[in-house]
């Protein structure tokens, strides 16, 4: 009988010690979790909402616990979230543009450029067809401020207007990013982007983007699609054209007939 008693005692001791160690390891895990990068996985999944991923990811990702922690000595009560009522708004602006690009529905994929490429338009001088803008200054086009807030954009007059950026030297241009105004969804008409060797855009003019499908602006019939302004800006593939001046045209937008620029970035390298 003695060996049996001692055997039971040993089994009990092992069980108790195992239970204690399990509780400890759970507590340690809970304490360590904030430092672990695991939440990034679900965050990434949310940023790319495709049904396939939605179906596939939950098994792959180490999901956070779906049950809230239940400390034994605290009573749990339902969380009281104050639900605000809807706020009334005015008539939203209208977007009815032919040849309109469908939004991607996800962040834009990365654009590949040669190593050493940088924003060569940053703080470069800007001239334009409206030298006395309604709001702001032309220099705001290249000041590096990409917010849509007051004081971050320049507003040019109605009809066809342009801004010209002097890159201060010939450059090979790989892409151009344009932010017109994205505080509300709108589409800018007749967006034309040209690269040239002279400030009047006469010599060696190369059009890298043109969505003026009916040639109302007289710069040739465009083949590119119109697009809705977003905080991502419009990325234009310049295909490595070379030139010193970058000129951007527009002819009002779907909200009003004025023209705006928050920022223009030109990515390229100086020609050796």
């Amino acid at each position: 009988m003695r060996p049996l008693h001692s055997g039971i005692l040993w089994v009990l001791i092992v069980c108790v010690s195992l239970l204690t160690s399990c509780q400890k390891s759970e507590q340690q895990q809970a304490q360590q979790k904030p430092e672990q990068p695991q939440p990034a996985t679900p965050a990434k999944e949310m940023a790319q909402p495709t049904p396939e991923q939605a179906a596939a990811q939950p098994e792959k990702a180490a999901p956070p616990a779906t049950e809230p922690a239940k400390p034994s000595d605290e009573q749990l009560i339902p969380l009281d979230i104050q639900l605000p009522k809807p706020m009334f708004v005015g008539t939203p602006s209208n977007i009815a543009v032919p040849n309109l690009e469908k939004p991607l529905g996800r962040p834009r994929p990365p654009f590949l450029v040669p190593a050493g490429t940088k924003n060569i338009a940053f703080k470069k001088p800007v001239t334009g067809s409206d030298e006395q803008p309604i709001i702001g200054e032309l220099l705001m086009v290249t000041d590096g401020d990409k917010e849509a807030a007051e004081g971050s954009f320049v507003e040019l007059g109605p009809l066809l207007q342009y801004v010209t950026i002097d890159l201060k030297g010939r450059h090979t241009i790989y892409c151009i990013a344009v932010w017109h105004y994205h505080k509300q969804p709108s589409v800018y008409h007749d967006v034309i982007v040209q690269v040239a060797d002279d400030k009047d855009c006469i010599a060696n003019v190369q059009t890298v983007f043109n969505n003026d499908i009916d040639n109302t602006s007289g710069r040739g019939v465009g083949r590119n699609m119109s697009y809705v302004e977003t905080s991502e800006g419009k990325l234009i593939d310049a295909k490595g054209v070379q030139g010193r001046y970058v000129r951007l045209y527009s002819r009002g937008n779907t909200t009003n007939d004025l023209n705006h620029y928050i920022e223009v970035e030109v990515y390229g390298k100086a020609v050796q």
């Binding site: 779906t66 639900l83 009334f88």
Partner: protein
């Protein structure tokens, strides 16, 4: 003369057939949804508070109580699109019926005007739109008609009715001042043009005028004071003009060039779909104005003066709505309605000018053109009702809003303990979802992710908010309280063209909902 009466009845029936069916077909516009929710408060609590910055006057809300009571609807959740949109439909049809009171302008002209009013795509489209515009146009025409009857008879009844119409105009929309101002200018224009003929012969006394003004003030105060329960509303109604005059001159939102209205009335062609044109009304409208200017004195002096007045009024309204930079397409109604009326005179003048042997061909051509208008009105309302190629579709929600609402409601219904829904859109740009989700008890509306953000089971969000939302979902909650969120929709959803909305649901809630559904 019998055929004219039958034709008038036919016009009225055509107007009803184009306006009444399937009032719930088109998704609710933001403006309609806002008015609907505001009406819901009035229906449920009996209170209305005039807002001097937006949303216009109270007549639309108060007049919607009638169909709601008739349909025994007592809360917002019971209210349907039909209950709301039947109100502008009734006033759209009243526009046609009011022609009966000016029949002495010439029955043939009136019948032609009735046909054009009944079949005009814009007048039909916005008769099915839960906004104030059709009410304002109807009250404005009512004022002209009652004013005409008053001028010809001098009876006190007409002065009272004219006053009521003016008061209703004032209580409907702040832009009533434009219509009344143009009426005044047209009246002065008639006085000026008739000065060599001894001026106007009107039977209006001081008593008539003071009665009309008193009635207008009483009716207007009645509505703005929420039936004598909120006197601040009367003061706000006066102060509101500062807001609206400032906005009219602004070009920041809804700023369009001067030819915008002429363009949508004469020729619009999108990247697909048909050509849209109401050129017939514009063309015959100008013929009518021309004929009114050229008309020689005859036995019916009052009718001749009214034709001149209406011609001038139509011209001035078209001019003023074109000059004001702020333009939404429904504002064209203020000019289009008098233009359709004078187009009736234009049609009869045109047929009279035609040589006798061509008159039959002229009648056939005019009939075909009116038929084309009716066909366009049908397509605008039953085929292209939310398609941006339709010139009267303006920042309109797509059918996606209904799909979003169905998906969210399905989750809520299949969740054992219901679901709390958060909607986060900057600038409160989530409309018309509050209308479509009105039956759900636990929906919260935010314009950003604040410090106190606590994620719930279902989140509807604008794409631009996502970068701020992610830390709120996966970093801020304590370990053990984080949930995995998965997409709610299988494709990108748009509240309206260019305005995407994304939906996320906790994996746990989705699984529970699916389980509940399969069981």
């Amino acid at each position: 003369m019998k055929w004219e009466r039958w034709l008038f009845v036919g016009a009225l029936m055509a107007g009803a057939l184009l306006r009444l069916p399937q009032l719930d077909l088109r998704p609710m516009h933001t403006d309609e949804a806002v008015h609907a929710i505001k009406f819901g408060t009035l229906l449920e609590t009996g209170t209305y508070r005039y807002d001097k910055h937006e949303y216009h006057g109270p007549t639309l809300n108060y007049l919607t109580l009638l169909p709601a009571w008739l349909a025994s609807e007592r809360s917002l959740t019971q209210v349907t699109e039909t209950t709301l949109r039947i109100v502008p439909v009734v006033f759209g049809l009243c526009l046609i019926l009011l022609f009966l009171l000016v029949a002495d302008l010439g029955l043939q002209s009136i019948v032609c005007a009735a046909v054009l009013t009944a079949c005009s795509p814009a007048l039909v489209f916005y008769s099915r739109y839960y906004i104030q515009e059709m009410l304002l146009v109807c009250f404005a025409f009512g004022l002209i008609v009652m004013g005409y009857r008053l001028a010809t008879s001098g009876r006190i009844l007409w002065s009272m009715l004219a006053g009521v119409c003016a008061g209703l105009m004032c209580a409907t929309k702040e832009t009533w001042l434009i219509s009344c101002g143009m009426m005044g200018m047209a009246f002065l224009g008639v006085l000026f043009l008739r000065r060599r003929e001894g001026g106007l012969k009107v039977a209006v006394s001081v008593r008539n005028l003071s009665t009309a003004i008193l009635c207008a003030i009483v009716v207007s105060v009645l509505f703005y004071s929420s039936f004598f329960t909120h006197w601040q509303g009367v003061l706000d109604a006066v102060l509101s003009y500062e807001t609206y005059f400032t906005r009219a001159g602004e070009n920041t939102r809804h700023g369009h060039p001067w030819y915008y209205f002429l363009q949508i009335l004469t020729f619009t062609k999108g990247d697909h779909g048909p050509v849209w044109t109401e050129a017939m009304i514009v063309l015959f409208g100008f013929v009518g104005i021309w004929s009114a200017f050229k008309e020689q004195a005859g036995p019916q002096e009052h009718g001749r003066d009214l034709r001149l007045f209406l011609g001038l009024y139509a011209l001035l309204m078209l001019l003023v709505v074109s000059v004001i930079p702020y333009k939404t397409p429904w504002l064209v109604l203020g000019a289009l309605q008098p233009l359709a009326l004078v187009a009736g005179f234009g049609v009869t003048a045109f047929l009279t000018w035609l040589p006798r042997h061509l008159r039959r061909a002229g009648i056939i051509a005019v009939t075909l053109m009116a038929g084309h208008l009716a066909w366009q009105a049908y397509r605008a309302n039953f085929s292209y009702y939310d398609d941006p190629v339709n010139p009267y579709v303006y920042s309109h929600p797509t059918d996606d809003v209904r799909l979003v609402a169905v998906a969210v409601k399905e989750i809520a219904q299949n969740s054992p303990e219901g679901a709390t829904v958060q909607v986060i859109c900057p600038g409160d740009d989530y409309w018309p979802l509050p209308w479509y989700l009105r039956t759900l008890p636990n929906v919260g509306w935010w314009n950003g992710v604040g410090e106190d953000f606590v994620p719930t089971g279902v989140i509807l969000v604008s794409p631009e908010v996502e970068p701020v939302l992610l830390p709120g979902l996966y970093e801020k909650p304590s370990p053990g309280q984080r949930h995995l969120y998965v997409p709610l929709f299988s494709r990108p959803m748009f509240l309206r063209p260019g305005k995407e909305i994304r939906g996320y649901i906790t994996l746990e809630l989705r699984d529970k909902s699916q389980k509940e559904r399969t069981e």
